[in-house]
Symmetry: C2
């Protein structure tokens, strides 16, 4: 066995997205201790940059030391106790995963179902809360990575607030790609991922919880089932003046990369990043339409940064085509998941990858399937 | 805010340890997809290299996508169900953490206590198992990072086998630093960390489970409380021929680094690595003795790669001295934890950091405290 030399692949699947040279270079800087004063300063800066990116003033805003699924678990297992009820909206894979996590926390999930490819229907959330007044929270996915549908987070939050319940939002794919207004919309707990529109390597899950969410955590009667994800312990490492309490050893170099990707976002500007995703996606969508592709998601709810396109009927073996793209074009696009497997391809145009060069390369590859 | 330039610090605390240039360079290679065929090949190689490093043939041998605490949780929450009993040996911080995790899994922890700085007493484990025949497993720390004591894993495993219970071993600090024979000793589940004697950045936790442990997981009556750490799901991503099932997005670049650090270990040879830790630590220990330092741990149980030395009585503010080492000597050594806070310093001589240059620098810094 020898050292690993990865091929250079154009990452246009559902994530990881393109990681720029400056972020890779940051990741390779010398490792320092997880309690070193300079590392504490870095943690503080990451918190501050994440607050800007998430549009929140929440003190407890930090990256969980594990991928997005762990961020999901962090929010849900800290807020829920055995016997609680949570309204969980499912319109794709990740809503389904939320239900799994809710139930493993000993809580009951009241499911609000919508079609895969459609957004969450706010009226159904209203009905579920009326029928289940004992509910503690509503959980939904802002931007469903498995379909590319954007739900109206603001409207769902408003409904939840009217019922006095907390809101947990999956912003894994939405953060930095489309508007996300954590404080203005009244999101109580939110989690995201490093490898989507932040264009950082996978492995970290930024989360943020407001005072109402933390009050709920503090009022628990039972310990959080996960020691690793227990916010009352993790917060002592991420917060406070001066010395921090050791909890776990943070992934130091991964934090360097996240910091650099947040600096890059800050330099571009959050609203400029949203606008770039919208603009470049418009170009890509026009090109896809011109090739004859149909979109899974209605234009009104279509995420700019993740497009599910229907696989043409003449395609027998879609996996073979993706392998061909990978080998002949050095291009990665994503397969469909669950009921959409074999039916759609998912094209990511995220973060540093949302550029004209990627669009042209992707359209060239896709055009080639009509040529044989 | 600007890009982060970490200082170059000589890492001689309890971890992270020195990360060599080749490992940092590997981490900065282009990100590829977590389902890319080349990444699957990398995963297979990591599994194979970990088997060599852990001396096991276990199929399920892989790094959990999170730090060592998550590896601990992976082993315990998969093996334990509510109502189970586990014998947990505590002779430092990490045994105490195991108890926390056991109890949060709804199991009862029967605690075997030993002094901090002493190894686990096998006779006490024997007595605990005799008194608690309902026990499902014994959990202990092979090399206690909070004290530097090495326990007789082989003997404890033998006792556990005689009682027909499983054994879970924390090998976070032992792996690659002292002999660890997973198969020969009959360890059923083991977890480690990337940032100790493997000299990789923190963030990954190699684990390995044998057939008996997996049979126990398969026989569960209740779902594993963590979706993220559920081995029945994670295994489908890490194992099998051909396509792998998506579970979570693996920390791709962190895996590059782990692979490179395992290649470096393979090149040196596992036994050569054990011998180097032993040899270099002998030099350091002699130097420390010559300076008048006393060791917390008796020579018989002293870990070569982590030495706890008693802080001299004339030292009023030990934190100030560590800060001085950090600022004037660019040297990090570790503080004592829990009851040892203010009483000991912990000096790590791990992985690529177990070299003469580090020894000299550490002894110079420590000598300086006697000069004023």
């Amino acid at each position: 066995m020898k050292s690993f030399s990865p091929p250079t692949i154009r990452l246009m699947g559902p994530g990881p997205s393109k990681v720029s040279e400056r972020v890779l270079a940051a990741m390779a800087r010398p490792t320092i201790g997880h309690l070193d004063p300079e590392f504490i300063r870095l943690m503080d800066e990451i918190g501050s940059l994440l607050r800007t990116a998430m549009r929140t003033e929440n003190d407890l805003t930090f990256p969980v030391s594990a991928p997005g699924s762990a961020g999901m678990e962090t929010c849900l297992v800290n807020l829920l106790e055995p016997g609680d009820t949570a309204v969980v909206c499912i319109n794709g894979v990740f809503g389904g995963r939320m239900k799994e996590v809710v139930e493993r926390a000993g809580a009951t999930a009241v499911v609000v179902n919508d079609e895969w490819g459609a957004p969450v229907t706010p009226d159904k959330v209203e009905a579920a809360l009326q029928e289940n007044p004992q509910s503690k929270l509503v959980a939904f996915v802002h931007a469903e990575t498995s379909t590319g549908a954007l739900s109206d987070a603001q409207q769902i939050c408003r409904i939840a607030k009217n019922h006095g319940v907390l809101v947990v939002v999956d912003a894994v794919t939405s953060l930095a790609g489309v508007p996300l207004e954590v404080d203005r919309w009244g999101i109580d707990a939110v989690y995201s991922g490093s490898q989507k529109c932040l264009s950082c390597p996978p492995g970290l899950s930024p989360v943020s919880l407001n005072k109402a969410a933390l009050a709920c955590v503090e009022a628990r009667k039972t310990p959080v089932q996960s020691w690793f994800l227990d916010l009352s312990l993790v917060a002592a490492y991420w917060q406070g003046d001066g010395a921090r309490a050791y909890h776990h050893t943070a992934p130091v170099n991964a934090m360097y990369a996240l910091h650099e990707s947040l600096i890059a976002l800050h330099e571009e500007g959050l609203e400029a990043s949203w606008a770039r995703h919208e603009r470049e996606s418009g170009v890509l969508q026009e090109g896809l339409s011109n090739l004859g592709f149909e979109f899974l998601v209605d234009k009104k709810y279509r995420l700019p940064q993740l497009l599910s396109i229907r696989i043409p009927e003449f395609v027998d073996d879609e996996a073979q085509i993706r392998r061909h793209f990978r080998n002949a074009f050095s291009l990665e696009i994503g397969a469909g998941l669950g009921p959409l497997a074999g039916k759609v391809w998912r094209i990511g145009l995220m973060g540093a990858g949302a550029n004209r060069d990627n669009i042209d390369a992707c359209l060239s590859a896709l055009a080639s399937i009509f040529e044989t």
